[in-house]
């Protein structure tokens, strides 16, 4: 049972990381690219690092892994938010199909 957890979570996490990357590459404007970057990457790192937990042999490694997970879980959305806020303050307008841009 515990051996199958990495087999499920790790490829799933890698797949979501890949999906987020494709989203960042393909979406039309900056604000829409924030979505895969913020949510996709956070989910991907959570899945991957949780998938690695059953493979841990020493308890220190487990503790470090949990620390990395918590740290990334907090900082990734924060950094994304900071980037979007900076872009907003900069005056970057969101992309719309019509040329008029209304936030």
């Amino acid at each position: 049972m515990i051996d199958t957890i990495p087999w499920i979570l790790l490829p799933l996490g890698g797949f979501i990381a890949l999906t987020a990357a494709i989203g960042v590459l393909r979406f039309p404007d900056f604000y829409s690219r924030l979505h895969p970057a913020g949510t996709g990457d956070t989910l991907a790192q959570l899945l991957v690092l949780l998938g690695l937990l059953p493979l841990v042999t020493a308890w220190e490694d487990g503790a470090k892994l949990v620390m990395v997970t918590v740290l990334l879980f907090v900082t990734t959305p924060t950094a994304t938010h900071a980037i979007s806020q900076a872009a907003h303050l900069e005056g970057l307008r969101p992309w719309t199909r019509k040329e008029e841009s209304d936030g």
Binding site: A21, I22, F30, Q45, L49, D61, A79, I83, E90, L92
Partner: protein, 87 residues
């Protein structure tokens, strides 16, 4: 076949795609977003590589990265804002 290897190759391909966005990125913020995302993926990759061959010590570097990536992003944002708002 190894789940860790599958995941690391997937993450690495994702990293390459984000790199294309970073290189191409029309605006500064696209590049910053790309760099931040590459940092996150690098942390994930470091953790994965540590378990690929069952070597210790990788997680310390991953921890360091996770911290530096965040601080670096904030520093870059501060620079950009300072310059633009000053002009």
């Amino acid at each position: 076949m190894n789940p860790v290897l599958i995941a690391s190759v997937l993450v690495l391909i994702g990293l390459a795609l984000v790199l294309i966005r970073t290189l191409r990125g029309p605006g500064v913020f696209d590049r910053i977003l790309g760099v931040n995302m590459i940092g996150t993926k690098a942390v994930i990759l470091l953790c994965l590589l540590g378990f690929l061959e069952d070597r210790g010590g990788f997680l310390d570097i991953a921890l360091l990265y996770a911290l530096i990536n965040f601080v670096g992003t904030i520093a870059i944002l501060k620079f950009v804002e300072f310059r633009r708002l000053g002009a």
